[in-house]
């Protein structure tokens, strides 16, 4: 199989980083987050995700030491070539923003720079998601190309994962155990300012939004599968039955239909009308969000594998 496990991780990480950044930036605008605490959190978390995804991509190359050949060409017809430049641009902007955040207490200009760069990063974050979503769709594989819905499905899944991460932060997800005598410094530095921007009411609204987004992704998935079923391309039906009925079908039904779509909907729904401050409700929302993120990984793994059957 030409694209295997490293590509699953590559597409998952890059999509999640893009989704998280766009959602955090958008929420910051809607909520009047002048300090950009959420976006800062998203950038600090997204940057290592993108770097890791690049390492996965390089490790999947037949000749990893030739990775630099990608930056010798700009080919608008090739999503992979465009993606290379999106990753480079997004990373450069992120590094500049991280630098500006480091010095913003000393220089006012840094705050202005962050404001301007934020918009650029927002656009580039969308392009990162689009790169991960369009790359498999621009191919000759019937499962990926029979309709134009695969990019939509993957972008919606990216947004859903981004929302899920913010919901996890708002619902009190912590890095390690919470010990009041010895607070987790990473947790305090990375999550607390972001958490301050996600009060219970906002987190609950985000969970409500994610319910809609998950329904949207279920519609996109159904449309994609129907398109493949109706397609007359050779191997289209073989790939579809391979995805839903062979050994891969277990991952499809349990991982995508169950973990990525069904379980989060089942868990988010009842908690929407209850007080999220209750520990039980908070835990339910947390589990639902973890399912969305894990299900996003299975979605990519199954689609990438089935398309190459």
């Amino acid at each position: 199989m030409t694209w295997s496990i490293p590509i699953w991780f590559d597409l998952w990480l890059i999509g999640m980083a893009g989704g998280l950044s766009t959602v955090a930036f958008f929420l910051g605008i809607l909520n009047g987050d002048k300090d950009k605490s959420l976006f800062k959190f998203a950038t600090y978390l997204g940057f290592p995700m993108v770097m890791l995804s690049v390492l996965f991509l390089i490790s999947d190359l037949g000749n990893p030491l030739r990775f630099w050949h990608f930056i010798t060409r700009f080919n608008v017809d090739s999503p992979m070539s465009l993606g290379t430049w999106f990753i480079i641009s997004w990373s450069a902007v992120s590094v500049l923003m991280i630098f500006a955040w480091q010095i913003e207490k000393r220089r006012n200009r840094a705050i202005k720079a962050v404001n301007a760069l934020g918009w650029i990063s927002f656009v580039l974050s969308f392009l990162l998601m689009a790169y991960g979503a369009v790359t498999p769709a621009v191919s000759g594989r019937p499962l990926w190309t029979s309709t134009f819905l695969l990019p939509a499905l993957l972008v919606i899944s990216d947004i859903s994962m981004g929302l899920a991460i913010l919901i996890m932060v708002g619902a009190g997800f912590r890095l390690g155990k919470n010990n009041p005598e010895k607070p987790n410094k990473l947790d305090e530095w990375l999550l607390s300012p972001a958490r301050a921007m996600l009060p219970a009411a906002t987190t609950q609204k985000l969970a409500a939004a994610n319910v809609y987004v998950i329904i949207l992704s279920a519609v996109a998935l159904a449309g994609q599968l129907l398109g493949v079923f109706l397609s007359n391309l050779p191997h289209a039906k073989d790939q579809l039955s391979g995805m839903t009925m062979s050994w891969l079908g277990i991952a499809f039904w349990l991982g995508i239909i169950g973990l990525a779509l069904g379980l989060p909907l089942f868990l988010y729904f009842p908690s929407l009308k209850k007080d999220i401050n209750e520990t039980r409700v908070r835990k339910t929302v947390l589990i639902a969000s973890i399912c969305v993120v894990a299900g996003g990984f299975v979605l990519r793994a199954v689609i990438i594998t089935a398309g190459q059957l």
Binding site: F26, L30, N63, F67, S78, A133, V138, F148, A152, V213
Partner: protein, 285 residues
Amino acid sequence: MELTRRDFLKTTGCAVGLALVSSTLSSDNVEALAGDRNMTIQIDVGKCSGCWKCHTACTKQNNLNGVKSYDPNHPYPLSGEDWVALLPTKRGKAWRFRKHSCMHCTDASCLEVCPTGAISRNGEAVVINQDWCTGCGYCVQACPFGIPHKDETTGTARKCDFCIGRVSQGGMPACVEICPAKAMHFGTRTDMIDSATARVTELVGNGYADANIYGVNELGGMHVIYVLDGKPSVYGLPDVPKSATSNSPVKWVSGLTAFGLALAPMWLVLKKRGQNDAKVKEARK
């Protein structure tokens, strides 16, 4: 030496001009080359006996990994070390074999999506530069016929190169030269299409109503054309093959639309919340 702004602009202008002129010349040269030669392989599926000698010749010509025996019940698939495959199809009581290898399309998906420029056109042939290929596998995914394959030994994508070394010296591809059944012919595109048309007429006259030529118009015209005695799908070929990039703008727009649709619920629920907050504030006043 101090460089003035005027000097800088002059130098830059000259450089850009030279680059434009040279790129125009080089593209003209390629067209001239293709126009002069435009050699094409014609494969008559009905005449192929499945002797497998084309695979043997290809393997020897390109120093690939070993000559193998052929079993129609377990045909070898294409791989980085097997650039020719024979796909068996049962037609009535008889077996038909379709030689499956690169078709050197004019609108070659592999070339279009290659992110590093390792795949290029050399006259009729679409070739992979083995010293520049990173082995990303995108060409493998993009080809509508599933031709290029990643070679685990070299770490690169590999496929038929139209025997470009032999063809450029006036020779013919090794597979065509060796074919004992004369199922393959090599010549100018016009000659190959003419003889294929005559053969299709003959097949139709013999009762093969669906006989057709495959590869004349498909993907901008391919440099391997087939004479088929049935529909392309009978032989595992897409009836209307599409270039991988043919719908790519639609796919980018699909991603953008989904982006808007997915952010909309967030905007709606938070805007509603903002309105509720404003009502609460008003009530407090």
